[in-house]
Symmetry: C2
Subunit: 433 residues, 2 copies
């Protein structure tokens, strides 16, 4: 099948991540899309050692990509305003679809760019512009499209959230944590965009337009940064039952739409209050669904690439007429794999065991001996003091990871001991690693 | 523009919710889709007082809907196996697209249904079948489509999660909480599907097929219920730093795919461990994005309808050639509204104020007098004991909700007091209600 040809402009962190994901996952991407997706050309001022582009056509002039007749989709990952805008408009002019991660450009010049795209009947996609790897644009625009959105609130700048989290956890002032974030690479040398809320406001502007069906209104949004929040404020808020988060909030009020980015106290019991570090999260409150929340990495090479590639695949599927919605399972006909489902006995888990036993001295030893005989290591073992009416007590054991069928055999043996009440309670442990 | 005509089969909780959402939000749905979506016919054994269907064509024979030449999309909300399957296959045979919330049917007979749909080139959509209002199918199938999925884990049965949460919070045994859940309407009279994990396994089967590109494998999945978990297990797990959740887990292992539903210990620090009550949540771990989590209502009339309507809208957009992907902001041309963005002064918030003051007796009174003069009510006021090097101390105030511009005036007055260090720190409070 004829491949879809992508031209990537910009080979920094996200550009390189996008190239790597498209290359590494080429097979499954083709199986899901119905057509191979190949990187036809890369436009970048320099190579990036994080990507092996030795067999890919390179140009130092990104506008070559926008004019390349072989490129179906231009991926703009250079960032900034003027050149990026000219690049995208040139690509649109040449009939190309566009995928971008450029939140600043979409928030401030999106109305004009979308108009140009409409006139040329091409798609401009920008999932990666908001909340990195979290597919929040798709969720708002398609997944919740039947709803009236009441409000949405998001932690949509990882740098700011990292700084507030550290200030609270370690009782350290803003300037000190900012320096640390800069040293760790979480904050830019000029941190204004992040800590003054401009970056968050770009993302909020985009989400609000989709949520409420209004044009992009960046210049009318209210923005306030986190530099004046002190560790004392975080502490006082905690005593009152709140956490301080730098939120972007969009709300449908009676007289209009509220668009504001500012430090915000939210109840500590709220899941959003517990999203820490560089994570992003968006809560959406809408008339039919009620409330839904998404959490994930808001930045980084491959998380952002995840969204860029999803946009490319959406466009590729749309090009593949008459297949206009994804296949039911997301893979094209005959692409489903015959990977076996493993019998439960073949799976690996750590395990919690609760053994109700007559706790005389030999019992514990007999149990650990059986586990040892089966090669099962113990992470924790506790004999509970509470003797119940039957005179027995609970022994609780956490095993290390072991094959299920091996543990079955050991449990069977233990249940055969005379001082044990069968059946033993066994609950699998998932470390989610 | 020619409307898209929907036929709803089944007018129970979800059917009625779907009718109500389609009717109530008809304007914004048309603005997002580009075509009005109308309910052409309802097939149901009886009317439902929760929906005013007086002007809608009704039939008592659901197969009338499947054969109605005016219906473009059949929405199957009758549940169950045999009749639902025959209904869907009849609709497909008549060239109709199908939307269903029927997890059992898709998990157990989806392979056959998808094959029939492929042959007739129609869409079968089932977002509502997994995790109710959370758009997890769309997220997996499209939003993360560029990734290789490593594993996913979900709390995907609200009844089971409610029971485990209650058992832990109130130290009450399974049977007692189950009875309470039945009385509250959270559990069925026959709770087998929920508490034995069959319902969760249906949903897991569907997610795993999409995640790994394998056929639906319900009969090969491992299922274990929660009826043997005791309050003591929950307590012991807590002492070890874990929570017990009834998880559906799908994992790509070296030799195959693991598919299992069982009670599971997960680290208490994990956000998933803190999803309580009837909420659903799915965590997806994938090669590019890393980890992402979605949270929301897993059942209920309108949350489920939210997903049903989103599916209907996706199909309606696909019918609207050549517009094959949503518009950039999700609304068609000229449908964007001119809703004003409110100036920040016009917005309403509760507020946290930190006032650094020389704490002699008159100061507190002067401050509260100014707030009172401006009609600002106080929720909490604390004078912090810690005198700082300047001899001043912090007074912390939580105000009730007030218009921003009113508070600005009051703050201005307070800052004019001689014993106050300006500026006052003001942070907005969001109760997220």
């Amino acid at each position: 099948m004829k491949p879809v040809k992508v031209g990537i402009c910009g080979l920094g962190t996200v550009g390189s991540g996008t190239f790597n994901v498209l290359t590494r996952n080429a097979n499954s991407i083709a199986a899901r899309t119905g057509r191979p997706i190949i990187v036809e050309q890369i436009g970048a001022r320099r190579d990036n050692p994080a990507s092996d582009t030795s067999t890919t056509q390179m140009t130092r002039d990104i506008f070559d990509v926008a004019r390349n007749p072989d490129v179906d989709i231009l991926v703009e990952l250079i960032g900034g305003y003027d050149v990026a805008k000219e690049l995208i408009l040139t690509a649109i002019e040449h009939g190309k679809h566009v995928v971008t991660a450029n939140k600043a450009l979409i928030a401030e010049h999106g109305n004009e760019i979308f108009q140009a795209a409409r006139e040329k009947n091409v798609v401009v996609a920008y999932e990666a512009a908001v909340a990195g790897g979290i597919p929040v644009i798709k969720c708002l625009r398609e997944g919740l499209s039947g709803n009236q959105i009441n409000w949405l609130a998001g932690i949509i700048n990882g740098t700011g959230n990292f700084i507030l989290t550290e200030m609270g956890d370690k009782n350290r002032p803003f300037e000190e944590v900012l320096s640390e974030a800069q040293a760790l690479g979480y904050a830019e040398a000029d941190p204004t965009f992040d800590v003054e809320g401009i970056d968050a406001c770009h993302k909020l502007t985009i989400m609000a337009a989709i949520a409420f069906g209004i044009p992009l209104n960046f210049e009318r949004a209210y923005t306030e940064g986190i530099s004046r929040v002190t560790p004392a404020d975080i502490q006082y808020a905690e005593e009152l039952g709140y956490r301080i988060k730098h939120l972007g909030i969009a709300r449908q009020a009676d007289e209009g739409v509220e668009l504001r980015v500012h430090p915000t106290l939210i109840p500590a019991s709220r899941p959003l209050a517990n999203i820490n570090g560089v994570l992003n999260s968006v809560v959406i409150n809408a008339d039919a669904v009620g409330e839904t929340m998404m959490v994930g990495p808001g930045a980084g090479a491959e998380p952002t690439a995840s969204s860029v590639v999803a946009d490319i695949m959406d466009i590729a599927r749309a090009l593949e007429a008459p297949q206009t919605t994804p296949n039911p399972l997301g893979f094209v006909e005959n692409a489903l794999k015959s990977t076996p489902v493993l019998p439960i006995g073949e799976t690996l888990s750590a395990n919690y065991l609760r053994i109700h036993a007559d706790d005389h001295p030999g019992v514990m030893n007999a149990i650990t001996q059986i586990l040892s005989d089966h090669g099962i290591n113990i992470d924790a073992i506790t004999q509970k003091a509470i003797r119940e009416s039957d005179g027995f007590a609970d022994i609780v054991i956490l095993t290390q990871t072991i094959k299920e069928s091996t543990l079955d055999k050991a449990i069977n043996k233990i249940e055969g001991l005379i001082d044990i009440q069968a059946p033993i309670t066994r609950i699998r442990v998932e470390t989610m690693a």
